[in-house]
Amino acid sequence: MKRRQFLKTLPIAAAGVAGFPTIVSASALGRQGAVAPSNRIVMAGIGFGMMGIPNMEVLLGKDEVQWVAVCDLDKNHLAEAKGIVDTKYGNTDCAAYTDFRELLARPDIDAVSLAVPDHWHAFLAISCARAGWDIYGEKPFSHSLREGRAMCDAVKRYGRIWQTGSWQRSVEKFRPACELVRNGRIGKVRQVEVGLPEGHYDFARTFGQEAITPPPPELDYDFWVGPAPYSPYCKARVHMNWRWNMDFGGGQLMDWIGHHGDIAHWGMGWDTAGPVEVEGRGEFPTSGIYNSALRYRVTAKYADGTPMVIAGGHPDIWSGTKWIGEYGWVYVDRGRFETQPASLVNEVIGPNEIQLYKSTDHYQNFLDCVKTRTPTITPAEVAHRSASVGHLSVIAIELGRKIRWDPAAEAIIGDPEAERLLSRSYRKPWMLPQ
């Protein structure tokens, strides 16, 4: 599987890769000489089917990182990942594990990069936190809202640094856009719009390969299914396209809510808030193994009455994040930053106004925070809130009715069925650790 070449040609992911901060080596940043081995952050990675490789490649390029181990239950992914580390260091020292439980027993790891399918997020995040590792974890933060809460609690309990792959906060114009909104340049915000992709994207070029076959020898499929309900193996179900089935992922909505929805929250100062009412609809495929929404539109109302519209496949909601206020609007997407009035784009937010967390390199921000033990730009609680509005949207669409939510208590109000959808049962022998 040539994931990297593939990612380079892929429009959405390519936009992401192109949007990544330029990688500046630590020495260019003025650190004289190499980082002493004793000061290095010893890292491992779990999951190399999609974002694991690009994430590792950036972190591997940082002087303060020493990569010692890789883990994947697909032996091909594992070999590719080990190859990259070994090539970088010119040796064969990188340890390779197919079972993360063996990796977890290692006492020498400081930090880990997690890029596994959604249904494994909580299990691995909590296990790694409990092992005392700091975590760079991919979005969406969690696979269910209650798992997200457990992850936040574990990160806090074990005193871990958490960075989410919501890297938009660290690049381009996202911060300036949010600062305009936060500083009232468009007056009171009347509506927030979050435009996400629609449909299903064939990342792995396996669409249609739904015939049930024995899994390939390199993949431990039962392990891969892990805590999710069991479905037989077919090629279209696994690598990179698992996201389109709600047992393993959350569709476009959950994939992207941690980007544009996260930015929407940032601009509104809703990092620790949540909606009070959520209502929405979606259109679903009528056959095949994928069952996440193709088109969808959700309105999430927040405590001050401001609605946030989250939509995929509704062209009146522009891709990206748009805040519409009393005096104009601010719109930001990868490579796009527009305002009404247009001159707002060049506004400078002065030091006597609200300044947001400034990071220009998402990975460096993680490493810096590992050293200073301060919160990253997208810590667990913030990521949890961005994901929460996504989970509530999925539930509202699934139930086809308005649900009410108490964001402080994180509880559904007056809807026992919606409440039941906040968590998922684990397939044996797995259970959510603590």
Partner: protein, 957 residues
């Protein structure tokens, strides 16, 4: 996926159209005279014509009025000779064709068909084709694309209550992204639109705009406003209209865009179907006998949810029997549609107790009867949602069987009440291996208090996984009993089980903390903290220390932290420092500050970040001291902290550090200087700016003045830009962008004309350009500059005559980008002076919008100077990408023009880069033509790959 989608597509359209028969008039109305013969002409269209022609056929037939044939042309580029439908045999011809020219005999036959009274429907993209066939263009009235220019005829649109015919220049045909829009009925007397509402909401569709054409004998029936927010034209564009041609009647609908893949909201929209059906009858017969359906979409619906428009009457959801019957043949990855129908049924019947109970009962019956595991899993997912204690008995039986145990738990885990707990506990005794773990997991997730005793027993289980799982679940259940059970096993436990017990106990202790039972919490945390390090890992002891500090009285907590930081293990510093703000008030922080320099480097870095949250005066001296540390990491942490605890007196230190360091330290110093709050800091910066003797420091302060938008520093910055030392002119000119206003432009122009250094001039030009953008009237943005180059006759001023100065002004015009200044630049192109010409060429090539596209093309074509050719060519390519109203094909033609002018690989690469944005077969061909060209092969390959990729993805707009 592709095959499924195809099925779904046909399925959807067919289903919707079947429903549309609800709207049919009495079929008997015309049956006496026999059906009207209609012909759909298709076979070439960049839309999915096989699907659309079938759908249109069905719509026509659904009226009960038509008998429909479909004429399919030969494929594109094949010989069209054989294509000669017998139009005369029909009373209605529906044009769903956009492609190669018809043979002239066929053209003649069509024209004579219409002239002699034949009816025609022009559907959506049929108005894109045959640009060079005058009669066709008269028949269809308005058209777009297909290399049409303003020679096609006037624009026709609706403005202020009447039809506007605008023969002005401009492109022909445009559409933006698909969106839902309001259709306005402009003629309620016409048979087609009589009886339709004044306005109705149309489902997501591609709205055409900027159509032009002969527009003879044209009657507009309905328009839609193409809103600028939808990247539209801001005009009320015609969407339904008629043309009379000879004795023929033509109904033209621009609506009904079909995507390559389903869904097809526009085709499924009631507004489209009904107007199409009515238009067909009118074109064929001159009257409309069809009734307007009672629930034709109106405006009372929520505009924001266009799906409402597509909700058809007459939908009868299937019964649960039918659903369960279908479900029984469910296969993984096959007919999973039935799962949605099941969910829909269950949700629709949840609100009445009887219906809900009935659903539950029948679902349970299915679980007993069915042998299909996939189907049973689907049913268990529904019981997860609505299951009650009534489900417990049957789920309990499933719990005992290996193959159904997990699915039973998915439902059982969510069913409230003691019965479900008891079922799980019952199964716990008999379950084996993994099954046992599953049940333990569910008991923990349910926080089942009754499970404490059995789980406590399992802590001693032979199987380590069972013991560990029991510990985890006991931690989740918590409470006094849960804690006691965990404690009971703790002392004797060995590695790694002891760590499991410790984390479970941490959960119990956290529960005590939140219920303010501090004594119990302290007891548990103390126990874990006191454990032997190898048995309980550092991270758990750190967590315990944190808990112990949180559970303690403030005095005790403070001593705990100080003791840890002075005598404790270094690995325990981290949690202790993290809790400093929780327990040390501002007045109590002294002892911590005293410890700062004595801590190891990592501890200092962490503590400095914590101290930044304290009131400035309490901690600043300590932070300033740390800013002088020998350790770079500590210095950087201190400088960062100064952003919050600094004050005006910190300004010189930060400015000097910014000027004197590099990399992270410089970045930290600058960031702190730019973000340190307070008006007094602003004043200190301006004061130091005057007082500092050092130019690098001055530049840092100037930059900070801009970044901080210190408006009161404007005059000072102007002085420094104009008359300060040359090394600070550019930075000052740049900083003025943030602090000056459009009203300052004349003064800034004065400064610009006095500048001699090129870097400073460039910064000032950019500043003037940026400020001009803030002028709301775009045609006033260049006024100040124009006033110096060519004062109005009534103005008393004289023009600037000095050639170098005029050149500066021309260049500045390129930055202000005011289209009304273009005349001056065009005149300058003809100036005798080469320097003036050069400036004008540069300004035009840099122009921020595509207005002077033709000007730069001419320069690129005609200039003798290679530099000018290249500059203009680059400008031209850039402007093609900026052009808003153009089809990809038109853009590619322009890019081809550009490519033909290139002489060097660099510009070829530029064209290739732009090509990828206009994916279409022409773009692909052009990119492929460069695959063999030396020097640009790689770029051509990348462009080909990118275009192919885009063409392959189902486009939705």
């Amino acid at each position: 996926m592709k095959t499924q989608k195809r099925t779904a597509r046909i399925g959807t359209v067919a289903a919707i159209l079947l429903l549309s028969t609800v709207f049919s008039p009495a079929r008997s109305a015309l049956s006496a005279a026999g059906p009207v013969k209609a012909l759909i002409v298709t076979g070439q269209n960049y839309h999915p014509w096989k699907m659309t022609s079938e759908a249109l056929k069905q719509m026509l037939e659904d009226t009960g009025l038509f008998q429909v044939d479909i004429a399919v042309s030969p494929p594109a580029k094949a010989s069209m000779k054989s294509f000669n439908p017998n139009f005369a045999a029909y009373r209605l011809v529906v044009l769903d064709y956009s492609g190669d020219d018809w043979p002239s005999a066929t053209q003649k036959a069509f024209v004579s068909y219409v002239k002699n009274g034949g009816g025609v429907i022009v559907y959506h993209s049929a108005n894109n084709t045959f640009p060079k066939w005058p009669e066709y263009n008269e028949i269809i009235g308005l058209a777009g694309w297909g290399e049409r220019t303003d020679k096609a005829g006037p624009y026709v649109y609706w403005k202020d209550g009447q039809v506007v015919r605008d023969a002005g220049p401009g492109v022909c045909g445009y559409h933006g992204p698909e969106h839902s829009f309001l259709v306005v009925n402009r003629d309620s007397t016409h048979p087609i639109t009589a009886g339709l509402p004044d306005r109705w909401m149309h489902a997501t569709d591609e709205l055409y705009g900027l159509l032009r054409g002969p527009a003879k004998n044209l009657t507009i029936l309905a328009t839609a406003y193409f809103a600028p927010e939808e990247s539209g034209t801001g005009r009320h564009e015609p969407v339904l209209f008629t043309v009379n041609y000879g004795a023929g009647r033509v109904f033209h609908t621009v609506l009904g865009h079909a995507r390559p893949e389903s869904p097809h909201p526009a085709l499924e929209c009631a507004g489209f179907i009904v107007t199409f059906q009515r238009g067909a009858e009118w074109a064929a017969t001159g009257k409309v006998t069809q009734k307007v359906p009672a629930d034709f979409p109106g405006t009372s619906r929520d505009f924001r949810t266009p799906e409402d428009v597509r909700r058809w009457p007459g939908y009868r959801p299937p019964s649960l029997e039918t659903i369960l019957h279908d479900l029984d043949s469910l296969e993984y990855s096959r007919n999973e549609e039935v799962i949605y129908r099941l969910r829909e049924y269950v949700l629709n019947h949840r609100n009445d107790a009887a219906g809900r109970a009935d659903s539950e009962e029948r679902l349970l019956g299915f679980l007993v009867m069915s042998k299909n595991a996939a189907a049973k899993l689907a049913v268990c997912r529904e019981l997860r949602l609505i299951g009650t204690e009534k489900s417990v008995r049957i789920l309990e039986q499933m719990l005992l069987k290996e193959e159904t145990a997990d699915m039973a738990r998915y439902a059982l885990e969510k069913i409230p009440g003691a019965a479900a707990d008891r079922a799980l506990l019952g199964a716990l005794e008999t379950a084996q291996d993994g099954g046992k773990l599953g049940i333990i997991s569910s008991l923990g997730a349910r926080k089942a208090a009754e499970a404490v005793k059995p789980l406590a027993g399992l802590l001693a289980d032979q199987e380590p996984a069972v013991a560990s799982a029991s510990a985890i679940s006991l931690g989740k259940i918590g409470g006094k009993e849960g804690t006691a059970a965990l404690f009971g096993a703790y002392d004797k436990a060995q590695r790694p089980f002891k760590a499991d017990l410790a984390s479970a106990l941490l959960l119990c202790a956290e529960e005590c903390l939140s219920s303010r039972d501090y004594a119990s919490a302290d007891g548990i945390f103390g126990k874990i903290l006191g454990s032997q390090p190898p048995l309980v890992p550092v991270v758990l002891r750190q967590a315990a220390l944190k808990g112990k500090i949180m559970a303690a009285e403030k005095d005790t907590a403070r001593s705990l932290i100080l003791e840890t930081l002075t005598g404790g293990l270094q690995e325990m510093h981290e949690p202790a420092i993290g809790l400093v703000p929780e327990v040390f008030k501002e007045s109590e922080i002294g002892p911590v500050l005293a410890l700062l320099p004595k801590l190891p480097e990592a501890g200092q870095v962490q503590l400095l970040a914590v101290l930044a949250g304290y009131p400035k005066d309490a901690v600043r001296p300590a932070v300033l001291a740390a800013a002088k540390s020998a350790s770079p990491d500590v210095r950087i942490a201190a400088v960062k902290a100064l952003a919050r605890v600094g004050d005006p007196s910190t300004v010189p230190i930060l400015a000097e550090r910014a000027a004197g360091s590099r990399g992270s330290e410089q970045l930290a110093a600058r960031t702190s200087l730019w973000t340190l709050p307070g008006k007094a800091v602003d004043e200190a910066i301006l004061f130091r700016l005057v007082a500092s003797p050092d130019d690098p420091v001055k530049n840092e302060l100037i930059q900070a003045a801009g970044e901080r938008r210190i408006v009161s520093g404007k005059n000072l910055l102007m002085t420094m830009a104009g008359s300060g030392p040359p090394s600070i002119n550019p930075e000052a000119a740049k900083a003025l962008r943030a602090v000056a206003a459009p009203g300052d432009i004349p003064e800034l122009l004065g400064i610009l004309l006095g500048m001699t250094e090129e870097t400073a001039q460039e910064e000032m030009e950019n500043t003037i350009g940026a400020l001009a953008q803030k002028i709301s009237d775009p045609s006033a943005r260049g006024d100040a500059v124009e006033g110096l180059l060519a004062p109005a006759p009534d103005a008393k001023a004289l023009p600037v005559t000095d050639i170098p100065k005029r050149c500066l002004l021309y260049r500045t015009l390129g930055k202000t980008g005011d289209d009304s200044s273009l005349g001056l630049l065009r005149a300058a192109l003809r100036d005798a002076n080469a320097a003036v010409q050069d400036s004008a060429i540069r300004a035009l090539s840099d122009w921020p919008n595509p207005t002077p596209r033709e000007d730069v093309l001419k320069i690129a074509q005609n200039s003798k100077d290679l530099t000018h050719q290249v500059l203009a060519l680059r400008g031209f390519v850039r402007m093609i990408s900026l052009e808003k109203y153009q089809s990809p094909e038109a853009a590619v033609r322009s890019l081809k023009t550009a490519l033909d002018l290139t002489t060097r690989p660099d510009e070829k690469k530029l064209v290739l880069g732009a090509l990828a944005d206009f994916a279409c077969p022409e773009a692909l061909a052009l990119a492929e033509s460069l695959l063999t060209v030396e020097g640009v092969r790689e770029e051509a390959q990348a462009a080909v790959a990118a275009i192919k990729e885009k063409l392959e993805i189902p486009k939705t707009n």
